[in-house]
Symmetry: C2
Amino acid sequence: MGYQFWKTETLETFCLDVFEKFGFSGEDAAFITDVLLKSDLYGIESHGVQRLYRYYKGLLSGMIRKDAVPEILFETPVSAVIDGNDAMGQLVGRLAMNKAIEKAQTSGIGIVTVRNSNHYGIAGYYAKMACEKGFIGLSCTNTNPITVPTYGRTAMLGTNPIAIAVPADPFDFYFDAGTSVVTRGKLEVYNKEGKPLHEGWALDGDGIPTVDASVVLGNIAHHGGGGIMPLGGASEETGGHKGYGYAMLCELFSSIFSLGTPSSRTGRDGRALICHGFAAIDPAIFGDAVAIREHLSDYLEDIRRSPKAAGAERIYTHGEKEYEAEKRILREGIPVNDNTMAEFKEVCDGLSLDFGRYFSGYELRDTGFGGNFY
Amino acid sequence: MGYQFWKTETLETFCLDVFEKFGFSGEDAAFITDVLLKSDLYGIESHGVQRLYRYYKGLLSGMIRKDAVPEILFETPVSAVIDGNDAMGQLVGRLAMNKAIEKAQTSGIGIVTVRNSNHYGIAGYYAKMACEKGFIGLSCTNTNPITVPTYGRTAMLGTNPIAIAVPADPFDFYFDAGTSVVTRGKLEVYNKEGKPLHEGWALDGDGIPTVDASVVLGNIAHHGGGGIMPLGGASEETGGHKGYGYAMLCELFSSIFSLGTPSSRTGRDGRALICHGFAAIDPAIFGDAVAIREHLSDYLEDIRRSPKAAGAERIYTHGEKEYEAEKRILREGIPVNDNTMAEFKEVCDGLSLDFGRYFSGYELRDTGFGGNFY
């Protein structure tokens, strides 16, 4: 499959127009667009503009209610519970993280749990919102059922990413990862390339280990049973119960404390029912925020400089790849695959937007790819 | 190696006498003993009375300062920073978790970070302290350097367990796990049994993957380089950077926010310099604590009842094994291996305690085991 590189501004203009066409305000459209583009700039193609089509479909079907306003159900000086009311996930996430930050500003810490939302993009975006104000930021979200608990054969958990961002130099500590052993996005890559999966990554619908990505993706899409294993793989011997535990940690701060819908029951009756969790912590509640920042930066530098494994050239600390990717991609452009370009064309046609105005010179190709697993 | 089963009361009396001999008050000795025995009752032999010898040695050497009093360095209504002053880890942990709980009682949440402590037993014990008061409890601790960052070959991280306990029925959600792919304790079991390790579990001192447990344990003990891989194994492809991220999460809330010593530099100059993190959260900050407890219990039951993988009979939720182990072990007795019994004898001799008074009828055996890796 081919890739076309586009300037950030090109994709930004296109996304803004798409969301404004749906009736979002300029400010809201800009926020949603920023979440999408930040993922591409971090080098995470799976959660970037590639997802635009999914949001488009969700807005058309009413799974995402474009006029919905998220509602604060309950508040204390250190917490809030929000009902997303099926609004656009990014806008729910913005409200929730801003609420957490506001509480951290007055109380030192804020935790917000959210129910009845939609897919909100990369969890790390929200963690970074807090980090950019000098706070420790955390966010997690449940998802559609994808991950199988250890010794189960039904996806009772989502990929359930947990993200944390902490101010550091020369770049923030930034960790954002699914608690499954592998992301659905990576399975899609293996599927496109026809590569067998690693052992211990997935089960088929009969609960038997499989290395066939297409089987697993098809089952996820059509609720055929099986799914992806938690980080650590298929057994307790290899630590699968630990990944399952981190997936539960995500579920607690998203669906459980909000009295929302656990991943096992999301996506029913035309509603996404996705739940998120957010926290912001002022490092000054531990004393000297500047000293903490320096202390963390020193430790991260120690790790990066420590001796390398045989055959390895470099040790990364979390956030380093995203930091470098952003600089490179801003310079080189955002890569968009042909399949996504075909989806952009469909979006333009559906919304009466002129594809050629954004992507002049691009000729649609038959990608030969049989279809995405949304 | 053989095992001898002892009544909880027998081991309790013995441990109490050991700690009182060192000059701890009855109350302090009882707390330390309870932390040790709780681990055995949960079926976690590695952190139970087997560790008594390690504490004994630490108290003798002065690494653990028995008269030290931990000090509160900084406080806000939602947080505290404590200097353990090299005191017994369990007593530092008790103070810190009680402080977190006290703040949760008044502010809804309390986070406490601790530096300059010693090994504090199972992280889960402290999470449970909060849970038993109806709160969400979290705790984590760094350790000696044992875990290698992805693509590194020097242990810059500890096994860095993270524990969380949340009230539920018929038993609490209770997750306590090291962020390394495997614990040092499990390596010791593989070593004793002469079994090869799994691929992706460990590196030797040259940064080359090894399946020889004795090499890895020897290197950990003598700072020979290499170590255990993070959960997810040796490469990013298998998710090793995720386990490395969770290990960092632990390090943040223990050594970084306390301005303490990261795992990479612990154990220097005769001091352990271990750091811990604690949090207690009142579920009522999210509204109806009773409804949350029921909601979590229902979800856990859904998971346990969901279809099983091929060949699997049962899906556990976190805390279930400990819940069942405690009932069984209280009935059957705590298993203590012959090697540990030999250490008990040495402790008795060293402290002028009568081994036969506690363990009458037990004959010391030559275990043929070449030595522990402390």
